[in-house]
């Protein structure tokens, strides 16, 4: 019997009729099975060889099997880490190895799941695909993997997603890109690492583990159980839960202290008149249709109308224009100008939720800039230079989560009044650290007065929700 990887499945040429888990494919007159059965198929045929163990050959049961499916190389890696694994990380790794390197580890947020992933990759010693739910997380993994293994790999860590399409021995990707391309690359990885694996049980995403042959699998999550009960599928696709650490045992350990300073700026006279004009168009339309915009359905209804009602369309454009005026108010740049003068010896991160504004600041103040558009390798390079002090300032429209990849700063400046600003402030606050000479870290928030920015922020503080 010959096992061949075919477009996300395994084609079993000349297979005996007792071959397990296979379906007869009358389109090609051969047996076919799902790619994730690769390991159990080899085990059944007595052809499975684990990295360290001898093949267990059961003479009476051995089937001649030619493995034409495996296209992944072995790798000899040692993570270049400057920190020792914490006890629970070591225990989790041991448990995973004891379960034949298949299974899920449940650890709370902020407990170093990425760190565990690195050790698992080095331990398995095979090419690896890391699947993450967002481009942000994909970028973080890329930075971490590059730091840990970059010098030991013949090619840079690969990126599949966010506009990049480079597949190498160690590759990071998103769920969406993985779903789209897994049928092409499912034979090229021996280890599949799935971050936030509770997203996996969906008719589309679950094809990612199904269409890869990876005999080793590691799932990582803080919230394993799903309300719909579908996490039960993970046992078959990834393996059993091999280790679990509770949330309260780790919570509250690594928080940083900082002071927040609110600053507000006015629109210039010209900005004000334009703003009022556009805002009025939007307001009139909304008022005449009685959408309850503070409810999610109300806003959705407004958006729906904008697709077929030309006036609604105009109202939406007016709203966007008004928001843009408030967001990029001239005096915000003046205020920023002052802050930069005051903090030019510090390490500052300037945050704006809007890409265009981030680039405007980058060009105006000649500071490096990270947005969703920044290619993963350039992002990793900029953060590395920020870490070493080659760059003292950084503008970004991306939420940089605390973690291994984002170096500490002592000044944060938030320039945009986005609806979820509070959340951004909290998350940005977490990467702020006091300076070595014990000056407290500072977080500035600059908001444009008398615009939707203040309105949004006030409504939220008042707790008006529904």
């Amino acid at each position: 019997m010959q096992v061949e990887f075919d477009d996300g499945t395994l084609l079993l040429r000349d297979a005996p009729d007792d071959v397990p888990c296979a379906e007869w494919d009358d389109r090609v007159d051969e047996y076919r099975t799902q790619a994730y059965r690769y390991r159990s198929l080899l085990e059944w045929a007595g052809a499975w060889e684990d990295g360290n163990d001898q093949a267990t050959l059961q003479d009476s049961f051995a089937h001649a099997l030619e493995d034409a499916a495996r296209a992944y190389p072995a790798l000899d890696l040692t993570p270049a880490l400057h920190i020792e694994p914490r006890d629970y990380q070591q225990a989790a790794l041991d448990a995973w190895v004891d379960h034949d390197r298949r299974g899920s580890v449940v650890l709370p947020t902020g407990s170093g799941k990425t760190f565990l992933g690195l050790q698992a990759i080095a331990d398995a010693g095979v090419s690896t695909l890391v699947v993450t739910p967002t481009i942000d997380l994909m970028n973080q993994w890329h930075a971490t993997l590059t730091n840990a293994f970059g010098d030991q790999l013949p090619e840079p860590v690969g990126v599949l997603g966010g506009g990049s399409h480079d597949v190498t021995a160690i590759t990071v990707t998103t769920y969406d890109s993985a779903y789209r391309y897994i049928n092409e690359y499912g034979d090229q990885f021996g280890l599949l690492v799935v971050d936030e694996e509770h997203h996996l049980p969906a008719p589309t995403y679950q094809q990612i583990p199904e269409m890869t042959i990876a005999p080793y699998r590691l799932g990582l999550t803080a919230t394993y159980e799903r309300p719909d009960g579908k996490h039960e599928l993970l046992e078959d696709l990834i393996g059993p839960v091999v280790y679990r650490e509770d949330v309260d045992e780790l919570a509250g350990e690594y928080l940083s202290e900082y002071e927040t300073i609110h600053m507000s700026v006015d629109l210039t006279a010209e900005e004000r008149s334009k703003y009022d004009e556009e805002y009025q168009i939007y307001r009139d339309y909304v008022d005449s249709h009685e959408f309850d915009l503070w409810k999610e359905e109300g806003y959705a209804e407004f958006l729906k109308r904008t697709s077929y009602d030309p006036q609604g369309r105009r109202a939406l454009i007016a709203k966007q224009r008004a928001e843009r005026i408030a967001r990029t108010a001239e005096k915000k740049l003046d205020t920023l100008d002052n802050l930069i003068k005051r903090h030019h010896d510090d390490r500052a991160i300037i945050f704006t939720a809007n890409n265009d504004f981030a680039y405007e600041i980058s060009q105006e103040f000649v500071v490096p800039c990270i947005t969703h558009q920044t290619k993963t390798d350039e992002r990793t390079e900029i953060l590395e230079r920020f870490r070493t002090g080659e760059y003292a300032m950084l503008a970004t429209s991306q939420v940089l989560d605390e973690g291994i990849d984002v170096p500490a700063a002592n000044v944060g400046i938030i320039l945009s009044g986005s609806a979820s600003k509070r959340q951004y402030a909290q998350r940005l606050g977490r990467i702020l650290r006091p300076t070595d000479d014990r000056q407290p870290a500072r977080l500035y928030e600059i908001i444009t007065d008398d615009t939707m920015e203040t309105y949004v922020s006030q409504r939220r503080r008042e707790g008006v929700s529904a």
Binding site: D7, Q207, S307, D334, K341, D356, V367, E378, E390, Y391
Partner: protein
């Protein structure tokens, strides 16, 4: 193709239908015309400016989703390129390094040592030997929004198969890819017809399985099945669409299309491939299609989506050349002039070989119902010949004959069970040699009558 959010369809208890538009409707023609003009006026301009202009475009009485959909189709035919004299990444890296040594860079200098951005930009511009403006604009010339619209053309089916939905080139600083583009004039007619096809394609994003019936252009249809990576089950059918026993009695073919993993579960994975395949069908004169579309993921509920040749869909794919080689064309011409009752029919049979199909070049039919199938093995490279021979060896029909060039390095034994039905030729094939061979091996295509 349209993105899923631009799809427009209506789902009823029975079926799902795209909300086709009438391409002769004046307001749509006006919208399409305005959009084409907008694109043409943005040639050499940044992509971001074009997108802002589309975003702010309000065309009276046209659903904005239609405007966006039409714009997406035009964008698919465009090429955007980074225009910069020096790699933008190099420019900005030098700028940041230079600036970092001189912070703070401020807009309103208050202290003697304050630097202004102009000094940084001009220093780097001098280092790189470019103008100040090239330095400033080049810094982020590789951003998606800053890429320039350099070409509006029409993509080929191969590009849809390989290029995914990416319509931008990411690396090209210079260079051109003229040969990949068919330069067709973009007209309102073209765009609106293309839009209706795209609406139909968008329904397939949630497709699980596709049944097609075709009565002509078999070679073209199945080459697109293969190009887009679909698998098939094929059944010969008669003029009414009823299945028949053999290809000799077939007027057309029915095929069920899906992908490798469809064997294990109903998968939407191949919906995009089916969507890409769909434009192959309107190349046929007569066709029908039914697809099973998933409308609710949680309950696995599906609806049927049905189309046929009466819908006036137009294809932008190529139907290919009628003849693959001069030998074939010459034989067809000679046959025209010859005096025989046997008739030569182009690509009339399909042999289902499992993973792929073989569509022999000709069928030769006698008015009394006898027929043979003819495949010409002409002048090919050794690799191509080998794959051709592998296909031929799988064919089991008794009325299958070969015309093989003597210039090929192969022997009769290599043709499997067809070995004793080979006609060797030097430069061209003689009609009467083929007729002689036909007389000896032809089978009747009449369905077997009741009597034994």
């Amino acid at each position: 193709m349209l993105t899923a959010n631009l799809a427009r369809s209506r789902t009823t208890d029975k079926e799902i239908r795209p909300l086709f538009i009438d391409p002769t409707d004046g307001r749509y023609r006006e919208t399409a015309g305005e959009l084409i003009q907008l694109f043409e006026s943005h040639l050499d301009e940044p992509k971001g400016d074009l997108e802002d202009a589309i975003d702010e475009l309000t065309v009276a009485d046209t659903d904005y989703k239609i405007v966006q959909g039409l714009a997406k189709l035009l964008k698919d035919e465009c090429e955007f390129e980074v225009v910069a004299s020096v790699n933008p990444h190099d420019i900005r890296q030098r700028l940041f390094e230079k600036a970092n040594a001189r912070y703070p860079i401020v807009r309103q200098p208050t202290l003697g040592e304050d630097t202004q951005k102009l000094e940084v930009y001009s220093t780097v511009a001098d280092e790189l030997g470019i103008s100040l403006e090239e330095c400033y604009r080049g810094m982020y010339a590789d951003l998606e929004d800053n890429k320039r619209l350099v070409r509006i053309g029409t993509r080929t089916a191969d590009q849809y198969a390989t290029g995914g939905d990416s319509s931008t080139s990411t690396t090209a600083l210079t260079g051109s890819s003229d040969e990949e583009y068919e330069h067709t004039d973009l007209t309102a007619d073209w765009l609106l017809t293309r839009y209706n096809l795209a609406l139909a394609q968008a329904v397939f994003y949630d497709a699980i399985e596709m049944w097609i019936r075709v009565w002509d252009h078999f070679g073209t249809v199945f080459s697109y099945v293969k190009l887009f990576g679909l698998m098939h089950r094929i059944y010969p059918i008669d003029a009414n669409g009823e299945r028949v026993a053999s290809t000799d009695q077939a007027a057309g073919y029915e095929a069920v299309l899906d992908g490798p993993a469809s064997l294990f579960s109903k998968s939407q994975k191949y919906g995009i491939r089916m969507a890409n395949f769909l434009p192959a069908l309107p190349l046929c004169d007569r066709w029908e299609m039914t697809a099973e579309i998933l409308v609710d993921e949680t309950t696995d509920e599906t609806r049927a989506f049905t189309l046929d040749h009466t819908e006036n869909l137009d294809s932008h794919y190529s139907a290919g050349n009628k003849f693959d080689s001069d030998v074939e064309r010459t034989l067809a011409q000679k046959w025209e002039r010859s005096n025989t009752e046997w008739e030569l029919v182009r690509e009339d049979d399909i042999f289902d070989l499992g993973a792929e199909v073989m569509i022999p070049d000709f069928a030769i039919e006698h008015p009394d119902g006898r027929r043979v199938i003819l495949e010409i093995v002409g002048f090919w490279t050794p690799e191509y010949l080998e794959s051709k021979l592998a296909k031929i060896r799988k064919v089991e029909a008794d009325n299958f004959v070969l015309a093989v060039s003597e210039r090929l390095d192969c022997a009769s034994e290599e043709f499997g069970r067809t070995a004793d039905r080979v006609l060797w030729f030097k430069t061209g094939i003689h009609v009467y040699d083929v007729v002689d061979l036909a007389e000896t091996v032809a089978v009747s295509s009449e369905p077997p009558s009741g009597s034994e």
